[in-house]
């Protein structure tokens, strides 16, 4: 089979899914959404939309293996060590450590210390710091940074990790336009390298800029649209959006 594109870890074939969701039901005590069946392939960017509290974050956390599914199956076909990247809403940074330490954690996930590759890790970290424009903050403890800088650090961590699949939960929210531009440029760098992304997002322009598909959670169901279907059928993220695509 013809290789589709070069991934950070090697060649990724078009038909090989990175993630398969089978009849998935998500939630904590009560079911938030059920009957979710979908798959994601290399290079795809999925924007997960829906009103607050509908289960977007729970879906991402279930995929990340942090919440047990109520029913159904999540099959992650990426490398267990470093294949999955995650930027949660609260960013999950180590507050009492330096920016470099935090970004280096991403590199260490895919290039464990025991397997060597110290130079490669340094290269990745420095390149990620430059891409996000925070190279001057390298030694600064994360707790001293502003909200926008924190989001840059979290994105740099993902950039240094170079995962096959990145889960990003509202990672572009509360950012000024300049920072959004910088972060999106870095994310595009990841996309060029073959990373797929599932992002929870609220802003139309960010969805339009990055997404290739849109998942909308509504009424305990997940609706899957191509980006063109979504653009033609709907004005952007709105509560109570009528499903315009096929139910999966």
């Amino acid at each position: 089979m013809e290789p589709l594109r070069i991934n950070w870890g090697g060649y990724m074939e078009q038909d090989t899914p990175l993630l398969v969701l089978e009849n998935l039901s998500i939630g904590y005590n009560a079911v938030l959404a059920s009957g979710i069946s979908a798959s994601i392939h290399a290079g795809e960017v999925i924007a997960v939309l829906g009103p607050s509290g509908i289960g977007k974050t729970t879906l991402v956390r279930t995929i990340a293996g942090l919440v047990e599914p109520i029913d159904g199956r999540v099959e992650l076909l990426v490398d267990k060590r470093g294949g999955l990247g995650y930027i949660p809403q609260k960013l999950g940074l180590v507050r009492h450590a330096s920016v470099y330490h935090n970004v280096n954690l991403g590199a260490r996930a895919s290039l464990p210390v025991l397997k060597g590759g110290s130079d490669e890790r340094k290269k990745r970290v420095n390149s990620a710091l430059s891409a996000l424009g925070i190279e001057e903050k390298t030694t600064e403890p994360v707790r001293r940074l502003s909200g926008g800088q924190l989001r840059r650090v979290a994105t740099a961590r993902a950039l240094a990790q170079r995962p096959s699949l990145l889960l990003a939960d509202e990672f572009l929210s509360e950012l000024d336009h300049n920072t959004v531009d910088v972060v999106i440029a870095a994310v595009k760098e990841l996309l060029d390298a073959g990373t797929s992304i599932i992002m929870v997002e609220h802003h139309e322009e960010n969805v339009t800029l990055l997404a290739t598909r849109v998942w909308i959670i509504e009424g305990e169901k997940l609706y899957d649209f191509s980006i063109d279907e979504w653009k033609s059928n709907n004005s952007p993220v709105q509560v109570g959006l009528s499903p315009g695509g096929e139910e999966e």
Binding site: G83, Y86, G92, R95, L167
Partner: protein, 292 residues
């Protein structure tokens, strides 16, 4: 919320009073107690006998300054040495065990046995550990070091795994999602995030071990407690008081050290790290205001 809190405190106070009433059968013993204490302190203990800071008659002091040959100095230094070594060894041992005992870092089937080991180690007081080690390896500081190390492992281990379990989960969740190993997660996420608490516990344990050096010394495990025990046997309570004051001063110094050390990892450290002088003035002022 506030009403229920006050109610809970009152209920607990009432239960304590009932329990105390059931425990004590003869309240008449309180009569004359204060007078006895006054007589004991004024006639036997006060004033403290500072000859404990003079050179001992034997062995002959070969140092220029007599103080370095005194019971107070030698006993305190030995106690600090025992406490220092056992605190460090115990801290490392406790970290190893507590990293496997925290339920947010390990599954229950691994965490539970580790918790049982820590509980077993902790259930023997340091005095009993000291007696055990004196029986096994004889009198001296080594018995003290081993006794305190074991107790430190049990005690600090519990504090540590409870600290780990109380840390914010988001950084841990990212580590788990990214597939970081347990060792990397522990050393690069958990320890930096809980560093302030760990240092605080470490300094507290050091202080605790210095104070308990007096107790385990009594059973022959070395340190200043050995001298306290000797003076008590000969009813020289004024010397005992002098040694207790020395221990108090050392404990206060350790408290100040703790303040300094923790300022490196707390948010306060971002603003201003206190100098030794400022820390001491602060302590002096807070004591004055509390006594007024």
């Amino acid at each position: 919320m506030r009403k229920s809190f006050i109610l809970a405190i009152l209920v607990l106070l009432y239960l304590s009073c009932i329990t105390l009433y059931n425990l004590v059968d003869d309240w008449g013993r309180l009569e004359g107690g204060w007078e006895n204490l006054t007589i004991f302190v004024t006639e036997s203990m006060w004033p403290p006998n500072w000859s404990v800071l003079e050179a001992q008659s034997y062995p002959v002091c070969e140092k220029d300054i007599e103080f370095f040959c005194s019971v107070g100095y030698l006993g305190m230094v030995e106690t600090i040495k025992i406490a220092f070594v056992s605190t460090i060894l115990g801290f490392i041992g406790a970290l190893c065990l507590s990293s496997f005992a925290a339920r947010n870092l390990m599954p229950m089937y691994i965490a539970l046995p580790c918790r049982l080991i820590l509980a077993a180690t902790r259930s023997l007081p340091s005095l009993i550990w000291a007696i055990l080690f004196v029986i096994v390896i004889g009198f001296g500081p080594l018995a003290g070091v081993l006794a305190m190390t074991f107790y430190t492992i049990g005690y600090l281990g519990k504090l540590q795994y409870e600290t780990f379990e109380g840390m914010p989960s988001d950084a841990l969740e990212v580590s788990k999602a990214m597939g970081l190993s347990h060792a990397t997660t522990f050393t690069s996420v958990v320890i930096p995030e809980t560093g302030n608490h760990l240092l605080s516990q470490l300094m507290f344990m050091f202080e605790y071990n210095v104070r308990h050096g007096t107790v385990i010394g009594i059973v022959g495990a070395g340190g200043i407690g050995y001298y306290i025990n000797t003076y008590m046997k000969f009813l020289q309570y004024d010397k005992v008081l002098a040694l207790l004051i020395i221990i108090f001063v050392v404990v206060v110094v350790i408290d100040l050290m703790s303040l300094m050390v923790r300022s490196f990892v707390t948010d306060e450290g971002d603003v201003r790290r206190p100098t030794w002088l400022k820390a001491m003035i602060k302590l002096y002022r807070s004591r004055n205001s509390s006594s007024q």
